[in-house]
Structures are given as C-alpha cells and as structure tokens.
Amino acid sequence: MSPVPISHDDLQAYADGQLDGERRDAVEQALARDASVGVRIAAIRAQNAELRHAFDPWLAERVPPRLIAAAEGPTRRGVLARGWPVLAAAATLVMGMAIGWFGRDLVLQRAGTPTTFAREAVLTHALYAADQRRPVEVWANEEAGLARWLTRRMGTQAHIPDLGPLGYTLVGGRLVAGNEKPTGLVMYENADKQRITLQWRITREKADASGETAFRYLHEDGVGVFHWVDDDCAYALSGPFERAQLLGIARVVYGQLAAAPKVPPSAPPAAPAAKPPA
C-alpha cells in the first residue's frame, strides 16, 4: 500500500490533538517512516507550550472587585459596594460566603491580613484542580523530565513524592508565577478523581524557632491546606479533604521529602547521572 499523503493541516491538527480516524492513522504512519514529520509536530507543540508559559502568569492575577460583582448577576451587583464594612470586620472567613474564594483575597486585604503562601496555594489549587483540559503543563508520563525541568527553573532540587501506596497517581506538574519566586506544583489524583496538589517555593521565612517543623492547617471553601517551612522552602499540600485525612497524606509527603538527598538552593542543578527510563 503506497503511503497516504498528509497535508500541513493534518500535521497541525495532529499536533493540537485534534485529529481522529484515518487522518490520524495516516499521520502516525508518516511519523514511523519519516523523522522530519516528528520534528515538525514537536516544533508546533513546543511553540504551544512556550505560548502557554508566556500567557499563564496572567491567570494568577487578583481579580478586580468590579468583575466579581459583575459575575454576581444583575440582582446582586451591589453586594460588594454595600457590604464592605461588614465583610471587612470578619476575622475568619466562613465557608459558603456568596463571593467565594476569589473575593476572599480582597476581603483579607481590606481586613489588613496579608495574603500568604497558604492562601495563594488554596487559590492555585482551586484554579488548576478543576481544570479538565490542562491541569498540569508536564504530564506524568514524563516524570523524570518533570523533576529536571522544575529543578532547573526553580533553582532548587525538586523531589516528586510517590503517593501510590495512598492510592494517588501522579497527574503531572507545572510552574506557577509567585509573588516573588516561582512556585512548583505537582498534582495527584485518586480513583475517585479527587485531586491533591503539592506546591513549594523558596522562602525567606524561617522555620519555627524551636527547630521543629510546624504543620499548619487552613481550610477555605472546601479546600484544606497543610503548610510548613523546611530548609528555606515553604510547602503546601492542598485537597478537598478534612483535616485528619489530609494530615495523613501530608505526613507521607513530608517523610519522603525529608528522606530525599538535600541540595542547597544556590548549588547548580546536578547533571543527570542516570539514563532516563526507556
């Protein structure tokens, strides 16, 4: 059978994950025959990834109050304008508040409470855990490359815990634009499709003065977060769970991170010594 010719449109659609049926088969046959086809597809995908990398930081920006109000709909448009003094006076935020977690940051700012890494982690978790198309930038099938990429970009050794024994498989990871430093994120999923994220970034915060690592807990709008500081790095483990359940996972994560070989943030990333798995 003579090879089916493929068009430029076929290549593009295949690279974008939008080719099915016999056109898809034709491209895959061409891929097997001709290395240059693979190069062109890889080039499109690399450009897509670069574009996402350039444009994703905008997603992390705080949403202005007038847009939150506009999302309320016509009958509740005035709620923020009228309700500010009441909301600002609240010391703790109760789940189920009408304005939701986007407005939470605004209320906290008004109340004089700074936005912390833990609160950002809740926001980031909610943003990406709910994403069906691209919750992560690098998928789990490239796990070795993921760890290397995160290490290189963050300037600190990235370790990806294995949560298989707890019933969680790795979905993948991404970088998130942080206040000052980038934040690494890896996401896991269980059989019920519930997702947890581990986020970390270099911090100037000191760990507890006693020298022990303090686990702190935060729960907002259905998302629980355990966070701690260890060795100049702040960590946050987030998931849609109650405290006890999340603590169990956090302990496993902490144990694995503590057992991993330590490389100081200022050291250059280690050259890959082992061959990547075939």
Binding site: Q12, A13, F55, L59, I68, G73, G100, M154, L175
Partner: protein, 202 residues
Amino acid sequence: MLVALAPRAARAERSTLPLARASFHVVDAPLPHPELLAAIPRLRRYARVLAGDWARADDLVQETLARAWEKRRLWQPGTDLRAWMFTIMHNVFVNMRTSASREAMHVSLDADSEGAEGAWQIPVQPQQFTHVELGELLQQVGRLPAEQRETLLLAAVEELKYEEIAAVLSIPVGTVMSRLSRAREKLRRMADERPAALKRVK
C-alpha cells in the same frame, strides 16, 4: 471570507462539549456561579489579547459578564460555559470596535490614540523564572495581525477545539486552520530573527 452572521441564539447553542457534571434546575436558570468566577481569569486573558490594553480588557470582561447574564437562558447546563462566554466576549468586542471606529471618523486622530487596531501595550512583567525570550514572545504575539493572534491564543493557550474556535469567531473551520498556520509560521520566523545568544536550546 466570513460566514454570514448567524443569529446569536444559534451560535450560543452550538457549544459541543458536554461536561459530566450535574446541572441545577432552578426556575430562573441562573448561571453557575463557581464556574463563572473560575472563568474570569481566562476571560481577562483573552480580553487583553483582543483589546490590547489592560483597562479596556477589564471593561470588555465586565460587559461580557453583563451580557452573559442577560442571555443566560441561551446557555445549556452541562455544556462548556467557557466556550460560550468566549463567543459572547468576541461579539461584544466586535460591536464595541465597530461603534468606536464610527466615532473615530468624527474625531481627529492624534498620535497617541489608542483606537489603533493591533496597538499592543504589554507592561514589562518581572519574569524571574523564565528566560527573557518569553517577554519577547509576548511582544512578537503582539506584532501578529489581530485575527491571527486571537485564533492562536484560543488554540494554543486556551486549547479550544477548532470547531469551538470557529463558533467563537464566527468563521469556518478551514479559516481557523489557515489563520493558525499563518500565525505559527510568522512566529517561527520572528523567533529565527532573534539574536543567536537568546535562542533557547531544546
């Protein structure tokens, strides 16, 4: 060649992605609030690409949200809310641009007029963890023709299907693909023109 404008109702109902998620049957059929809030960052991002500056982008998002509420009965629960909102935003933008250019004809254009299509004001953002290339990439996207960069953003960054993009932009799927491939080719050529020292080695 643009496809003839279909009535708005038909466009909105052409959303194709069914989401496996419970729909709430409320008499007034409000839009799902958590999904609306979650969509705002993506709407803002696309609005910036359309409008070219941050303030007008937020105006566009606000107008889009208001219009979405007006037309909420056209949205089918279980279908892709984001794609539907992008369609509304694009229509709002086209209407705003049409009336703006009509007004501009009566006003003398000065050199700093922000009405110029394709004017692209990207504030320099500190990107500590990326190479300087990504700031350059934003600039290069800004130099693409407007219709190419809109299509490219929806495909590469928002990852809508070609059929969804066609619905958002009211153009045939074939036009989506040809704009995409022209945009990609242009970006590749701009990348090749970068100084060699800044080229990323894969």
